[in-house]
Symmetry: C2
Subunit: 175 residues, 2 copies
């Protein structure tokens, strides 16, 4: 019953010992133990499951690493895109990041409240706003990027430096 220890990073045997399709002889786990040696069996080999777990971990680490500045991943991505492409419209930013323009409204509201970005009325199109970082936003983003780089190092520590780069290469088509 000392199995209370949560999933303690069995990173040693990474790929091994997954091959046991019907080894459910030890089936009468009488519920008292809540054992952690539960075979995922069929779930291993599903990309969606492992990606979900990874995304959860990576977001939590991002939020934790940038907790001091109170910036969440989506906010960071918005500021990054605006910083790299000043003057973009909300529609362009939303399309670029794959988020709804309806959602971007609140995102920008919060960022504008904190004086990180500003919606400047476009001169050519009175419907749209040209998004810019404020001076405060630029210096803030610089700090965010340093923290984000630290978070990225956490990722590298977790899955390995070259594995991280492989991952970025594999999923580059979703950028």
């Amino acid at each position: 019953m000392a199995i209370k220890q949560q999933t303690s990073r069995k990173a040693a045997g990474t790929g091994a010992a997954i091959r046991r399709p019907q080894t459910r002889a030890a089936n009468d786990r009488t519920l008292g133990d809540a054992g952690d040696d539960i075979g995922l069996d069929a779930l291993v080999g599903h990309a969606g499951y492992v990606v979900r777990r990874f995304q959860l971990w990576i977001f939590q680490d991002f939020v934790k690493t940038l907790a001091t500045v109170d910036i969440r991943p989506t906010q960071y991505s918005v500021m990054t895109v605006i910083g790299a492409n000043p003057g973009l419209s909300q529609m362009a930013v939303a399309k670029r990041l794959g988020i709804e323009r309806a959602r971007l409204v609140h995102l920008l509201d919060s960022l504008e409240e904190r004086a990180f970005v500003s919606r400047i009325p476009s001169a050519t199109d009175r419907r749209s706003h040209a998004l810019h970082l404020t001076g405060r936003g630029k210096t803030a983003l610089a700090q965010f990027k340093r923290l984000a780089a630290e978070h990225e190092r956490h990722v590298a520590d977790k899955i390995g430096k070259e594995n991280r780069e492989q991952l970025l290469r594999i999923l580059a088509c979703f950028t």
Copy 2:
């Protein structure tokens, strides 16, 4: 104005032309960045962003592929774990899948309504339930697995067969 050109230039593309890590010469942004080598699209190189986009795509494809049986990824994972390890408690399933036990309650409610799983009172612990698949649940899960395999082929078609396997290998520590 140059703003509109920037928007129209970048808005459309969702893929293509990512291979320029440090070719940021043509970037006329006035933002003095933090010395970090973040290129034109600073989000390239962030694992969290690309994983989020990928997870979104993969979940949508899963839901679409299993739309005829009305099963979502989380429901599928729950049924898979129960099917592979009959008699687990809710706590054990929740811990194994990394979901809150509070959330699992509603998950199991819906699955029990459809007569896929059943909560059998544990004989040894009157607090907990032993989770089992019903006969209907077993045959249903077999069909779900076939559809999930089809979804997995979609993933392979999207990112490449060997890339998918690499991905599973890299992220195996999150299983």
